[in-house]
Each structure stands twice: as structure tokens, then as C-alpha cells.
């Protein structure tokens, strides 16, 4: 095995240096070496380096190579009695001088000068302001060269430029000493000032990507690996920018990275992303530290199945040394499927039928049956309501109700996910008739719509890009406002929002006018998809239709991935990307191959949500037990076991109603409604508030809180509503008590209702003994059993 060999001392005698050939044209260039053996084991931090001609080329102890003059020579790396060589060809072209965009901005970015806390903040720092992370070259050039009457730069005495004196700490600098006068970066700045602070010609090739090499590492504990950052340019050239890149670890305790790109793993297993950032580009190196010893002896178990989900998950388990849990038993599984797919408990009859079912296809059969039940639509519409449902005090009661009806109907009809999305993105018509249009009554500006649409349907969070180029994102202000421009021509008629009551009707249509301007340049933006080409539209063409087409196109990977990931998260307890609507390179999926395959499957099904749910549920991975073993108890995101979770507030309240046999009643809802059917978060319910439904007093309502709390425990123990249901004369306990069935059969029925299983002999014995010891009559005994069942984790959790 690969991992095992890492622990051995290199005995093969094959050491090599990367890159094997270095070419220098510029005195300010620099290259980072890596020393590896033929298996890829890194020896950079253990090797020593020597230049064969120290007048021509210098090399540091950590393998940084710099040219000093023209000439041909080599660098020799030595580890033990092994050596390897890199050939250096230095032909310094004196006509090449540093220029602003290409050479100076990367330095200001690398050393944090233009970062948020320093000169990059909106008002700068002590009068010196730069654009955040160099997104505005003109502005920055002005700030350095011309502003403050040119006192930041002294062409007659370049060394005395305040820019340099501050950076080296020669004069007091709030940001401290940032540059060493001996460093390449300092020399670069100095030489730029000496040659008269030139700008980079527009014809200069632009950087198109940053690469980090190696990009994937599987490492044992306490290991060091050097990575290199390479910039790729549009003309096909590339350049080592390791010394100008900033490195960051997503979890520095597990694996750290220093400022020069040297990675060091800690002693704990896990997965870490190491990010390199150069200018506005970034690249990620994924580091995996398997369970120690796990892969030494034998491969871990796989999930036995040829379902693609099981195969791809198992591949990951192998990589990490995880062993999957056993399959869950039938009682656990039936309860899980009902609660996950339709948000209600199976009845005792349904549970019995399932437990007696012998068909090998019983999981598929039940899944298909469940997605076709009416509760399916209520349940999944309720999930989407969290994302779209506005505050009725903002948009009006009728509008919210119309939106709710539209949502429910969409899931009842099994509207394909792409069509569902298109209807929201292109919504038109009346807020009293066309439910999807209520979304744009609530989100009223192109900017507001942009942030929601990009997050919901692409999993892209553009909020930050609204104001500045995001340091960890590929999207900038330009992208944001080009996207917003698709929503510029939404025409409105009728009564808008006028607090406190906005109950009137509003109509939306395609307007001939409407523009979105870039806040900085004031330039009118042409609509363009993210990272796409600007588009032109005639007066009668709806830009939103084109956007919807682009978003939901089968070629748009983000759309399928975001949709598939959301549904995966609903069923599996955690998204492959978490949070489910935050897909970005710096928040990578735990299993990229699986996410790709799920997206493909979702696409292939023509975005049929029911089919897709059945696909996931029929994997063996879905059926795994939550009971961990030694080799997976630390796994909280690779799905080698099922993750227990608590159903949402509405589901739980319906569960309580079902097992007690007493319905709740809600303001503004018909008699006997279920919590799942509610059309607004504003309908009062202590139960739903305790269990963390979105807070109706926030606008928009806040996210759900998944945590369990003392308040919840107390509400189940003492809450008036719950108590009244348990003790009701019309309730389950009273009715069973009045019926001729024995106490024993009645207790069995309660177990089946609450836990979807029969009590064990031991449990039954204990319950009966307690009932007689406490001198309870039949009804009291059943009430207490019901209270006790509801107040146990086995009821509240989906196992």
C-alpha cells in the first residue's frame, strides 16, 4: 500500500528534484524546489541544497532558488547518500523591468497590505487606501504613485520612498515590519520605483489559473511536504509564484502550512484543505490523514452492493481506513423511511405489514409507494417553504397563502426540479394567483433576487461579491452585477410594500426598461451568467428566461450538484457539501466523485425528484445502522454510518399528535390540520417555537436551529399541549384503556406507534411490574407509558 510505504526510509535510491529544469529571465524571479523519491515521498525539508555556481544562482536551506546573473549551472539536493540535480539556465534580460499589475500588486496582496484589516478596508488606514485584494488596479496605482502629492514614492531617492520605509519598518508602521530589505519582494519594489513605476502593458498575458502541486496528498501523522504554487498565463506560459502566494489551512491543528508552503500533518486523522492564494486566483491541495494502522493489514470492509453510491462511498472508506456500520434492522429502517420521505410515523398496521414483507425489493417498493403519497408533497413543500416563504406582515397574508399553495402543488405534481426552478426565476403575473411571483414581491431589488437565486439554485453565495472581490471566492463585483442585470427589467404594477400592512395585489411583467449599474464604475451592466459572456436582449425578450435556461441547463454542473446535494443532505443527515447551499472550491465536498455521480443521475432522470429520492434510498448506504464501530466512530461526514437526527418541528408535532391520537389546532388553519400543512410561520404554537421552527419575528425568518435544548426537554415533559394530549379523554391512552384489549396488547400498540417495534420481553415485564407496584389503573398506566415513550430519545430521534 501507498500509505505504508511512506513510513519506510527510502531505499530505492531514486531521488529527484522538481522542477528538473529551471529557466530564469528576470532577477526578481524565484523558484521553490521539491525533493521527492520515486514513490512521491517528500524529502524537501530533510534534504540539503547546494548551488554549483554561487555567483550565478543562490539556493536557500529550504530550497528557494534565485538568479544572481546570467549563466548555466545546477543545484544539487542531497539526502543521506542520495543526490539529485536540477539544471538551471539563467539568461537575465535586463530590458525586462517590473511593472505594476504583474509584479507589484501580487506583492501587496501577498503581504496583506491590501487586506480587509489594513489598507484594503473601505476607508483605508491612516489615509492610505488600497482596493481590497487588488481588485481595482487604477485606484491602487493612483493611491501609491500620485496621491498624497507623490510622497509615497521618491523617484530621486527610491530607498527613501515611504512605501518602502513603512514596509520594512524603517519608519513606524501600524502594520509592523512586513518586508525584509534582503527579500526578493523588497528588491522588486525598489527596482520598480527605480525604473519609474511603470504600469503593465495591456497586451501582457493575463493569469488564467493557479495550480498547487501536488494537489492531493495522503499522509501519515507528523509528516512534512513542500507544495509549489504555479501561475498559468493565457499565452501558455507558467511561473513559480510560491513565494508570492499566501497559504492557509482549513484546520491548522490537523495539518498546518507555513508561509512558504511547507505542509506538516499533526497526529490526528482527518481531512484538510490547504489553500494557496495568488492575486485573485486560488488553488487547493487536499490532504487526507487516514486512521493510523487502518490500512496496514487489510482493506476495510466495503458496502456490499453494486449501486454507484455504495461503490463511490466505499472507495472513500478505503482511502480513509473507515469500516461501514452494519445494516440497520427492519424496524429502524421503516421508521427512518417514513420520517425521511413523508415526514410521518408509520402506523402499527403499516409497520406490521413491512415487518412481514418478504420481497427482496421491499425497500424499493416502499420508497416508491411513499413518494406517491399525498404527505410527500406536504413534507417537501414545507422544506422549500423554509427557503422561500416570506413574512405575511411584509408581503400580505393572501400572497403567502398563494405561494404556499403553489409550492404544495408543485410537489404534488412532481414538477421536475429544473422546471420548478425556472418557474421561480422567471415568475410573472399576480401575487393573488401566481404563487411563484410572491418571491419577487418579497425580494424587491435585482440585488436581493440575485443573492437568493444564486444560493438556492447554484449553491453560490454571492453576498460578499456585492461589495468586493471575495478572498476565497472566484466571483467578483462585476460577476454580481452582471448577474443582477438579468433581473433589471421586472415590471411592477399594483400596490407595493407599505408597512405595516401590505395586503394588496401586485403584478409582475416584462418591462422594456430597467438597468443595473456597477456601484464603483457606474457602468450599466449587461446581463451575463456567472463567468459567462454578456448577453444582449431585444425589447420583447425576457432576460430572466435566458438566465433560467442557463441555470437549469444540463450543462450547468452547479445546478445539478446543488440540487442533488440538497436532497442528499435531507435523506442522509448531512450534505456532501455542508452547508448544502455553499458550493465553492474552498468548501469542497467530502466525496467529489459521488457528488458528480449524483448530479449526473439527477440530470439523467430529467430532474425527477421522486426518482432521485428512490435512487438514494435504495442504496445500501442509506440503510446503514447508526451504531458505530471502532473504525468509524469518528466519522461524521463520510456516511460510513447513519447519522441520528431530530426531525423538524412540524414533523415532531405531528408525531406527537399521531401517537396520542389527539390533533392540535392552529390559528388561521382549518380544524384538524397537521402542522406540516401550515402555510405560515406566524401561526402561534409553543411546540413549534420550542423545537426551532424559523423565528417568525425575524424578516426574513432565520434558519432552523437543529440543536436539542433544555426548553425542548421541558416542553415534552410538562408542556401544556403535550400533557393535554396524553391525558385527553379522547386520546389514545384513554381509548385503549376503555377497550377490551389487555394492558399488555395496549402497551405493544403504543410501542409500535412510537418506536415502530415491539417491546422486548424484558421491557414489557418492567412496564407491567411498575404499573402494578405504583398501583396505577389501566388508563394511568397507559398514560405514563405514553409519556415515557415520548420523552425518550428513541421517539424524538430518527435512528
Amino acid at each position: 500500500m501507498f500509505v505504508g510505504s511512506l513510513l519506510l526510509i527510502n531505499q530505492q535510491g531514486n531521488l529527484k528534484v522538481e522542477p528538473a529544469l529551471i529557466q530564469f529571465q528576470n532577477l526578481q524571479d524565484q523558484v521553490q524546489l521539491r525533493v521527492v523519491d520515486n514513490l512521491g515521498v517528500d524529502f524537501t525539508s530533510k534534504a540539503t541544497f547546494k548551488s554549483s555556481d554561487t555567483k550565478t544562482i543562490s539556493v536557500s536551506a529550504t530550497g528557494e532558488v534565485k538568479p544572481l546573473q546570467s549563466g548555466n549551472t545546477s543545484i544539487i539536493a542531497t539526502f543521506g547518500n542520495l543526490t539529485a540535480t536540477s539544471t538551471v539556465n539563467s539568461q537575465i534580460d535586463k530590458s525586462k523591468v517590473p511593472t505594476f499589475e504583474k509584479d507589484i500588486q501580487p506583492i501587496l496582496t501577498r503581504f496583506g497590505c491590501n487586506s480587509g484589516p489594513c489598507h484594503g478596508k473601505q476607508r483605508g488606514q491612516n489615509g492610505f487606501q488600497l482596493s481590497l485584494l487588488a481588485f481595482d488596479d487604477d485606484f491602487d496605482f493612483g493611491a501609491i504613485v500620485t496621491e498624497a502629492r507623490g510622497r509615497r514614492i521618491f523617484p530621486s531617492s527610491p530607498e527613501s520612498s515611504i512605501l518602502l520605509m513603512k514596509a520594512t519598518g524603517a519608519v513606524p508602521h501600524g502594520g509592523g515590519k512586513k518586508l525584509d530589505p534582503e527579500s526578493t519582494a523588497y528588491k522588486q519594489l525598489l527596482s520598480w520605483i527605480k525604473v519609474g513605476t511603470p504600469r503593465t502593458p495591456k497586451s501582457e498575458p493575463k493569469i488564467i489559473a493557479l495550480e498547487i502541486t501536488p494537489a492531493n496528498l495522503i499522509l501519515p501523522p507528523k509528516t512534512k511536504v513542500q507544495v509549489r504554487a504555479i501561475a498559468k498565463f493565457e499565452d501558455g506560459n507558467s511561473k513559480d509564484v510560491t513565494h508570492l502566494s499566501a497559504f492557509q489551512s482549513s484546520e491548522s491543528v490537523l495539518t498546518s502550512v507555513d508561509s512558504k508552503g511547507l505542509i506538516e500533518t499533526g497526529s490526528l486523522p482527518g481531512e484538510v484543505a490547504i489553500m494557496a492564494r495568488y492575486m485573485e486566483k486560488f488553488a487547493i491541495c487536499y490532504v487526507t490523514m487516514p486512521l493510523t494502522g487502518a490500512t496496514k493489514t487489510k482493506l476495510p470492509a466495503r458496502i456490499s452492493s453494486d449501486h454507484f453510491i455504495d461503490t463511490l462511498l466505499s472507495n472513500k472508506f478505503e482511502k480513509l481506513g473507515l469500516s461501514p456500520s452494519e445494516p440497520a434492522n427492519d424496524s429502524v429502517l421503516v421508521r427512518r423511511m417514513y420520517l425521511d420521505i413523508i415526514g410521518r410515523l408509520p402506523t402499527p398496521e403499516e409497520t406490521r405489514a413491512w415487518l412481514n414483507e418478504k420481497s427482496p425489493d421491499k425497500v424499493r417498493n416502499l420508497a416508491v409507494q411513499l413518494v406517491n403519497r399525498p404527505e410527500y408533497a406536504e413534507f417537501w413543500a414545507n422544506k422549500w417553504a423554509d427557503l422561500l416563504r416570506p413574512n405575511p406582515y411584509h408581503v400580505g397574508i393572501k400572497a403567502v397563502f398563494v405561494l404556499h399553495t403553489w409550492l404544495r402543488d408543485a410537489f404534488r405534481k412532481n414538477l421536475p426540479y429544473d422546471q420548478f426552478s425556472r418557474e421561480i426565476i422567471t415568475a410573472e403575473g399576480s401575487t393573488f394567483r401566481d404563487g411563484a411571483s410572491v418571491f419577487i414581491r418579497d425580494k424587491r431589488t435585482p440585488e436581493e433576487i440575485t443573492t437568493v437565486v444564486s444560493r438556492l439554485f447554484l449553491g453560490v453565495r454571492l453576498e460578499c461579491a456585492k461589495c468586493h472581490h471575495h478572498p476565497f471566492e472566484v466571483y467578483g463585483q462585476e460577476d454580481f452585477y452582471q448577474f443582477a442585470a438579468f433581473f433589471a427589467r421586472i415590471g411592477r404594477k399594483g400596490v407595493g410594500i407599505s408597512a405595516p400592512i401590505s395586503g394588496s395585489e401586485e403584478m409582475f411583467f416584462l418591462s422594456k426598461k430597467g438597468t443595473v449599474k456597477h456601484p464603483r464604475t457606474n457602468e450599466e451592466m449587461k446581463p451575463a451568467p456567472l463567468k459567462g459572456k454578456p448577453m444582449e436582449f431585444g425589447e420583447d425578450e425576457d432576460p430572466r428566461a435566458a438566465l433560467a435556461k442557463w441555470i437549469t441547463s444540463k450543462d450547468n454542473n452547479l445546478f445539478a450538484k446543488a440540487g442533488a446535494n440538497r436532497i442528499w443532505g435531507d435523506l442522509m443527515g448531512r450534505g456532501l457539501v455542508d452547508p448544502v447551499d455553499d458550493l465553492r472550491a474552498t468548501n469542497p465536498p467530502t466525496n467529489p466523485e459521488l457528488l458528480d455521480a449524483l448530479a449526473e443521475e439527477f440530470r439523467k432522470s430529467d430532474f425527477d425528484m421522486k426518482k432521485f429520492i428512490v435512487t438514494i434510498v435504495t442504496s445500501n448506504a442509506y440503510r446503514l445502522s447508526s451504531v458505530p464501530n471502532e473504525k468509524n466512530l469518528m466519522d461524521t461526514r463520510n456516511h460510513s454510518r447513519h447519522y441520528r437526527n431530530r426531525p423538524r418541528a412540524e414533523v415532531l408535532l405531528d408525531m406527537v399528535c399521531d401517537v396520542t391520537g389527539v390533533k392540535d389546532s392552529f390559528p388561521a388553519m382549518p380544524q384538524d390540520s397537521r402542522a406540516m400543512e401550515m402555510w405560515t410561520f406566524r401561526s402561534a404554537s409553543e411546540f413549534l417555537d420550542s423545537f426551532g421552527r424559523p423565528d417568525p419575528n425575524q424578516d426574513p425568518p432565520c434558519e432552523r436551529l437543529p440543536d436539542s435544548t433544555v426548553v425542548q426537554a421541558l416542553h415534552l415533559m410538562n408542556g401544556k399541549g403535550v400533557q393535554a394530549k396524553i391525558l385527553s379523554d379522547n386520546g389514545r391512552a384513554a381509548q385503549l384503556a376503555a377497550s377490551p384489549v389487555s394492558l399488555e396488547s395496549a402497551v405493544e400498540e403504543l410501542y409500535l406507534r412510537c418506536y415502530s417495534r415491539m417491546p422486548t420481553k424484558q421491557e414489557m415485564q418492567k412496564v407491567l411490574t411498575l404499573a402494578s407496584d405504583q398501583k396505577l389503573n389501566k388508563r394511568q398506566a397507559l398514560e405514563n407509558v405514553l409519556w415515557a415513550l415520548i420523552n425518550s430519545p428513541e421517539f424524538v430521534l430518527v435512528d
Partner: protein, 438 residues
């Protein structure tokens, strides 16, 4: 002045008053301070943290800028306080009159400009590890209340960490577990029928008696628990919550503290007969019962529009309540052992925007400290002439959190361990704000 006999030795304040500041230098005083915090002697027994959710403006509260242009200074005028030379904004009249009891820090700044991240930084003393969205509820680190619950705890039956009326975004326990999540008291203590929900069986239900339910629960509860913390079994969290719930039901102290109706009308008036006022009074009752950490989470301070008309209504009651709390604590002799804090995510933008509001601004914010051994009558740090950024004695959220921890007797430099063995300092920079340490 008793130079050598003061409670905590020679303080920085003493040095400054004697003009010895430069002579002794920072090193000497900070070594004395370090010794003081190393002994772990708590100055405060309880903390009441008033969280103004949204990010309160520093201009209209504790850091007026009368000399700035009108689009920056806004509509309000400064007023003098009890301490000569220190000014507040015009609505802070009652607080101005007790400035001798207050310490205002005007120079905390950070780099998190949205609510989710700003709340996380101030509530936990740690910046969010990855960029988070504005409305986010994120948790990468335990909140101060949860750490106090874990490190100090409370009397049996009483949660150590309360939050009223709802949890703040990042106010959770993170890896410390559900046992240290805040106990939330919602509802309006200002209404006549106020009771803390569900801490006793509903009286109106005749049949509701315990009748051995506890034992029945033990009999039916057979679900396997995964004891290893790395598993993150939610059943364990439910067990913790269930046990705490039972303790609370049985705690006479808690039940008495909740009964705000026992409070004389005069005291209730002092705090203001509104929801915020009565919640604050409830917090004081919890302090009396021995609760070490209470957060009052007050929403509605995100004034992007019409800031002045809104604050005209809001600030006078706010001023009355906070001044009422400090005065009441003082009169009861509780102020010396109770630390009162008032803050939000960040300050607000210098320029009044086109909608007549101010936007998020983390380069400057003001934090109010009172009690818990905090020397009163001080202003610490300053922003520049126009209030753009902290420029004098620039402090971080880490310094803020370390001050709170040091005062209540938790070593901010202590290392805690998450379930997977990952170590984390309580605060990465455990340096408290020395001027506040007395």
C-alpha cells in the same frame, strides 16, 4: 492613596495617576497583572451581557463626534457626563449621570463585517474559521457563556448560562456539548401572566401528576447511546437536557428567581415597564439566585435606514434600563461582584447613508463595562476625529473576551479539548484589557 496595599497590588491606573506610567513601563505593570490573573481570583461572580443584535451605532451612544461634518456626526448633540471631559450622545442622559460607575471602551475593532461573523467573534472571542454569510448561525468555538458553564458551573438544579429571550447566533456550546447550551427564557416578563414555560406541570390539568413517570421512562428508554464523544450522538445531548430539565423543575431557587411578580412595583418601574426592562430585571433576579452568566439578546439594532427617528424612540428606554440595572445592583451591594456588559457585533458607518441609516462597521465600536471590579469613570482607547477607526489603544475581540474570562475567574489561556482531541485555547490571545482589571 495606598500604593502597596491595594487589593490587586499596584495598578496601571495608580501608576498613571502618579505620573509613573512611563517610568515603570508596560512590562512591569503587565507582569503584575499576569500574576493577578494567574492566581485566578475572580473579581466577578456573575456576568450580565446585554447583546444589541444588529450592531449598535457608536456615534449615537458612547462615542459622539461633534467636530465631524454633519453627514458623519448625525443629528444628535453630545452631552457631558459626570466625569469632566467625557461626553455621551444626547439620549444617554441617565447613563451619563452614573459615568463614575462605567468604563467605556471605544477602541475594540475587528475585521468581520456581517452579523453571523461579528456575533461569532464577539460572543466566542474567536473569529469564524471560514467566511460565513450575513444571516448565518455558525459555531466554530464555544461561546463565553458555555465556557463559563463548563469551567465554573452553578448551583445544582440551576443552569449556569441563561439567555433571554432567545439564543444569539453563536451563543452555543460547540464542542462543550448540550449540557452547556444556554437555557432560553422566552415570553414577556412585562406581562401580568408571565411564567417561565414548562418548568412545572400545568396546574389546570387535574390528572397531571408525576405518579412515577420517571421510573417508567427508565423502563422504556432502551436506545443504545454512543458514549464516545467523537460520534456526536444527539441522544446524549437529549439526556443532558432531560436531566437539567428535571433539576430545574425541582429547584426552589430557580422557581423563585423566575417569579418576577415578587418584585416591588417601584423596582419594576426603575428598569422600565417594557419587555427589555423586565427581562433585564429578570436577569438581576437570576444573578441573585447564583447564575454566573446571563445574556440578554435584544434585537433591532441594525439601523440601515432612518436611524435617528428610530433611535429617538429606542435610546431613552435603553438608557433607562441599563442605568436602572447598574443603579439597582449598586444599591444592593451587588455591583462589585456583577459585571455588566453592553455591546453588539460592531459599530456603524461614519457616513449617514442615502436612506438615513448607518451600515455595518467593524473598524470601531464602543463597549460598556460596569461592575465586577471594573474601575469606573474611565474611557479606554479612542477612535479618530471622525470615528472611522479605533486609533488609540486599539483592542481586539480577543482582549475583550479575555477580560470577561479573567474577571469571572476563568483562565483565558487555558486549553480545552474537542471530542476528537483537537486542542483549542479558550482565547488565542489571553491578554485582558488591563485598565479594566482594577
Amino acid at each position: 492613596m495606598n500604593l502597596l496595599g491595594s487589593r490587586h497590588g499596584l495598578s496601571r491606573r495608580d501608576c498613571l495617576m502618579l505620573g509613573l506610567g512611563t517610568l515603570l513601563g508596560g512590562g512591569f505593570t503587565s507582569s503584575l497583572m499576569a500574576k493577578n490573573s494567574a492566581t485566578g481570583k475572580a473579581q466577578a461572580k456573575s456576568v450580565i451581557l446585554v447583546w444589541l443584535d444588529g450592531g449598535p451605532t457608536h456615534y449615537e451612544t458612547f462615542d459622539p463626534k461633534p467636530d465631524a461634518p454633519v453627514e458623519i456626526r448625525g443629528n444628535y448633540k453630545p452631552i457631558p457626563t459626570k466625569i469632566p471631559g467625557v461626553h455621551f450622545s444626547q439620549h444617554m442622559t441617565k447613563l451619563a449621570s452614573i459615568m463614575d460607575k462605567l468604563a467605556i471602551v471605544r477602541s475594540v475593532q475587528h475585521d468581520q463585517g456581517n452579523h453571523g461573523a461579528g456575533n461569532h467573534y464577539m460572543m466566542t472571542g474567536a473569529p469564524p474559521r471560514i467566511p460565513v454569510g450575513c444571516g448565518a448561525f455558525v459555531s466554530f468555538h464555544p461561546s463565553m457563556g458555555s465556557v463559563v458553564s463548563s469551567e465554573i458551573g452553578a448551583l445544582p438544579g440551576l443552569p449556569a448560562y441563561f439567555t433571554i429571550p432567545s439564543m444569539t447566533r453563536s451563543g452555543g456550546p460547540n464542542f462543550l456539548g448540550a449540557k452547556h447550551a444556554p437555557f432560553v427564557v422566552d415570553g414577556s416578563p412585562n406581562s401580568a401572566g408571565f411564567r417561565v414555560r414548562d418548568v412545572s406541570l400545568p396546574k389546570e390539568l387535574d390528572g397531571a401528576k408525576q405518579l412515577g413517570r420517571e421510573e417508567m421512562r427508565k423502563a422504556v428508554d432502551r436506545m443504545v447511546r454512543f458514549a464516545d464523544k467523537q460520534v456526536g450522538d444527539p441522544a446524549l445531548a437529549m439526556d443532558d437536557n432531560y436531566k437539567q430539565g428535571l433539576d430545574l423543575i425541582r429547584s426552589k431557587e430557580a422557581q423563585a428567581a423566575f417569579d418576577i411578580q415578587r418584585e416591588p412595583e417601584k423596582v419594576r418601574e426603575l428598569y422600565g415597564r417594557n419587555e427589555f426592562g423586565q427581562r433585564t430585571l429578570l436577569a438581576r433576579r437570576l444573578v441573585e439566585a447564583g447564575v454566573p452568566f446571563i445574556v440578554l439578546n435584544e434585537g433591532g439594532w441594525d439601523h440601515h435606514t432612518n436611524i435617528f427617528p428610530t433611535l429617538d424612540k429606542r435610546l431613552p428606554t435603553f438608557d433607562q434600563t441599563i442605568a436602572g440595572l447598574i443603579t439597582d445592583l449598586d444599591q444592593r451591594g451587588m455591583l462589585e461582584s456583577t459585571l455588566v456588559l453592553v455591546l453588539g457585533e460592531f459599530g456603524r458607518t461614519p457616513q449617514v447613508n442615502k436612506d438615513g441609516g448607518r451600515d455595518h462597521w467593524s473598524n470601531a465600536m464602543s463597549i460598556l463595562f460596569a461592575g465586577g471590579g471594573t474601575p469606573g469613570g474611565q474611557v479606554i482607547g479612542a477612535t479618530d476625529k471622525r470615528g472611522y477607526a479605533a486609533c488609540e489603544r486599539v483592542l481586539s475581540p480577543e482582549n475583550f473576551a479575555s477580560t470577561v474570562y479573567s474577571k469571572i475567574g476563568v483562565d483565558p489561556g487555558k486549553i480545552l479539548y474537542a471530542a476528537n482531541g483537537r486542542p483549542a485555547h479558550i482565547v488565542s490571545n489571553p491578554q485582558p484589557i488591563q485598565e479594566l482589571m482594577g
